[in-house]
Symmetry: C2
């Protein structure tokens, strides 16, 4: 079987034109911040695939089913500061972001915590992996990473998924020659990621309850965002959805604006002073869509984060939950026996099945094994070196790793982990972005959004995590040109996508075609 079907020139042009118009009218756009003028600004469509990409139905559902265990795991890790310190402490000398966050955490801890609820909005990213030796086997899920802060792409995917479903109903995906169509409306799952994220925030908002400060009558959710943000179309709709539920939601830019527009009461309620309002409003939830890059932690950035973190507002994420997204944590969780500290043996088995082999680059036995692997070109090729940074933009791939190790001081390597490369099946699709049109082999990354509100329950020295509310997980899909390593949607390499779910039989027959 062949997928996607071949297109005539006219069909191709018509599909592209329909997609552009759909994107313009549905906010499936990036703001061109460099064109921002006093009175106007330009924007253009975000990268998208023309067709939904094939994805095995079974793996799609497996990834959803797994999320409950991942939520539990990452909530538990985020409340275990001893274990986290143990994993991260070697980083502090070499990773300024890790140390900045830890210092803020320490300072808050000394003052004592006034909020025991945390909202997790996680995105666990998977690729399909085919065992290179037994390549006729069915692909399985391997986790690329689990993001715990500022998980993006939820709204963009939601839009592109809606668009693929719209195009499908217009007949755009009908093969010209009368063959059985591989996709049908039932194979295009409804995407509810926007609703899932906004519901998570509203659940936390209600969890916060009435204003605690006597002078206040209202509460609001505060989005912490990047100034001059090109990606407002992935954030603003969440804000509007909250307003539609009559939950006031405002946004403040990272840094100085946080200090200028928020304050703490003596009992640590966080107050927001809106430009447009004469009275302050108490903040129920702080939702971070910024504050995950080291350059944001200058003196003002640190003070800003500290102020938010000290406050009674529910944070999404808290500092510790933010730190659980570091690659070092991901790698530490792959060490045999570790998962059982946080989840049941049964859950541990399911989770660990999605782990690719990972190694530290230290003097441990495992670290030594890692160095051996990358010195041998044959095994180096199958590996990728990842720093503890958010996103995938700073990875070192395959045979480049050796040269990188040589020029990098030993102590800096502490912040890197070595991961066995995932070997994804290659599918076909068309993509369009500001970089151009593309037709050919593609690789997809499925993200599962896990949204949960948990409570830290402390009895003397003993702490445990209690899940308060957990939403049904939702998904995102990003797809890139198979010949490019990076999945950056921003740079136009990656495109938003949605899956066309198919049975194994169809999937394997397309793979073999």
């Amino acid at each position: 079987m062949i997928y996607p079907p071949a297109l005539s020139d006219e069909q191709y042009a018509s599909l592209v034109s329909n997609i552009k118009d759909w994107q313009i009218t549905h906010g499936s756009l990036l703001k061109l911040v460099e064109t921002d003028e006093e009175n106007t600004v330009k924007c253009h469509p975000v990268g998208t695939t023309l067709f939904p990409t094939l994805f095995p139905k079974e793996l799609f559902h497996e990834a959803h089913a797994l999320q409950k265990a991942y939520n539990k795991l990452y909530a538990a890790v985020a409340e275990d500061d001893e274990w986290l310190l143990d994993v991260l402490k070697e980083l502090f000398d070499v990773d300024d972001l890790a140390s900045a966050l830890w210092e803020i955490y320490q300072e808050v801890k000394e003052e004592g915590f006034v909020q025991d609820l945390t909202l997790g909005i996680f995105r666990s990213d998977y690729m399909m992996h085919v065992n290179p030796i037994e390549s006729s086997h069915r692909p399985e899920l391997k986790q690329v990473e689990l993001n715990t802060v500022s998980c993006a792409g939820g709204v963009h995917t939601n839009r592109v998924s809606d668009m693929h479903r719209h195009l499908h109903r217009t007949g755009a995906y009908q093969p010209l020659v009368s063959k059985e169509a591989i996709i049908s409306s039932s194979s295009l799952p409804l995407n509810l990621t926007l609703k899932t994220i906004s519901t998570g925030l509203s659940v936390a908002h209600r969890g916060y309850g009435r204003p605690k400060s006597a002078a206040m009558t209202e509460t609001c959710i505060l989005f912490i965002v990047a100034a001059d943000n090109f990606n407002i179309a992935d954030e603003r709709p969440i804000e509007y959805a909250l307003w539609d539920e009559e939950i006031p939601s405002y946004r403040v830019s990272w840094g100085h604006d946080i200090l200028a527009h928020t304050s703490l009461t003596p009992t640590r309620e966080l107050l927001y002073h809106a430009t447009s309002r004469s009275v302050a409003i108490e903040v129920s939830v702080v939702y971070f869509r910024a504050g995950f890059e080291i350059h944001e932690y200058n003196d003002i950035g640190r003070m800003a984060r500290l102020q938010l973190e000290k406050s009674r507002a529910i944070k999404s994420p808290s500092i510790l939950s933010h730190l659980t997204g570091f690659k070092k944590v991901q790698q530490a969780l792959t060490i045999p026996g570790v998962l059982e500290r946080f989840v049941s043996p049964d859950e541990a088995v399911k989770i660990s099945r999605t782990f690719a082999p990972m190694y530290p680059l230290d003097d441990s036995l495992s670290g030594k094994q890692a160095k051996k692997l990358v010195l041998e070109p044959k095994t180096a090729r199958n590996h990728v070196l990842k720093p503890s940074l958010e996103g995938g933009g700073h990875n070192v791939y395959g045979e480049e790793i050796v040269a990188f190790l040589k020029r990098t001081p030993e102590e800096l390597l502490q912040s890197y982990v070595l991961m066995e490369k995932i070997n994804p099946p290659l599918l076909d699709n068309f993509m369009m972005s500001s970089r151009g049109l593309y037709e050919g082999r593609v690789i997809s990354e499925l993200g599962i959004f896990g949204v949960c509100l948990w409570k830290r329950v402390q009895h003397g020295e003993s702490k445990r995590t209690e899940m308060v509310t957990e939403l049904a997980p939702s998904w995102s899909l990003r797809t890139k040109d198979a010949s490019v390593d990076e999945m950056s949607v921003v740079k136009g390499y990656g495109c938003f996508d949605s899956p066309a779910l198919v049975d194994w039989e169809v999937f394997m027959s397309v793979l073999e075609a």
Copy 2:
């Protein structure tokens, strides 16, 4: 009372930034067609006011109440080809569009009509008028024009109205100093224009019924649009709304594409051959968003319109209904006694109250009076000369009229009408468009969308019009810098707006402030 309230620099910047983001994420945009590339295209926000503009509640409701009579009037006129011929015949030698349309009508008439239903999507435009002599009097409604073809702005206004309501709920319109706010949520009427237009089309679609051609199983609505259209955001959402009601809707560009993608069966069903579909689909309704400019009526354009017009599909508008939008018709309706041919005496009174004095430029008594008026600079100033073209882009104002008359051959003047200038009250607002930011005096134009499906009932020589379905009217509001004559939103002079409805007392006190 002062409205809108003064803004601090920070409030102004915050409001503008919030508006840009809202527009980007809600398709309140214009497509920059000159940037259209194979793989991407840029777009930017459509012009908008920052605040809703004050509007007297009573006049807003009066304009809505009037629409039923206007629908009846224009449906009746559109079925009275004798009267129309009488009014328009002098135009045919000088106005190529009028004659092209009339020729097509004649050709269809000769073959005989196969569809007795017509869908009207009208927009009756009003300005408020203050008697310049008794300027302390309350303003009243005066009709600028009634549009019968391709009435635009419905979706844009809907978006901007939603935006103003959103900004209001965020507190953006709250005066900084604690005074009573002039606007409240109940003063911002809900705009349902998108829904009104799409419902009109779906009513007509259902009115068409099952496919008539034996080979067909489905029907669809066909949008006739301009190629390289910058204004897709005002059209596409109607198409998507129809799909949401499971009504297939497609678009075809004016001209060659109509001939390439449609065909007539021997029994004159119109078939649409989509690029993306292997089988044709029968057209229930043809919705014109193009075909109203003379340059579109070259040989191919004429053939295309003729093919659509001959067909069994319901047209919105039909050729005759299209012709009723000519200024000559508007002027002819102001002649005493004429309205009573089409509507009840009571309706005639209500309608004629909204007429500004209008004159032909011919040799009639009325025409001679017109020429006298424009020769005198004092009276010329109060007049505007309008050609029979769609839109307001070709008007000649005040004292420029004399020079224009001198350089224009007598016979060409047949296509112009002279209209007494409406003297609108000046209000204040902020506007932003690609032309810049503006703060100052503004003038608004209220459009009332009348959507109705009517039937031509013929008994021998006697014809009458039967209203089949009439929807509750909806509205648009456009606002411009008071010092500019043109209301062109496309050129950035006019901005989309929504009314803040107030009692007379508040309105007059703001006027006097």
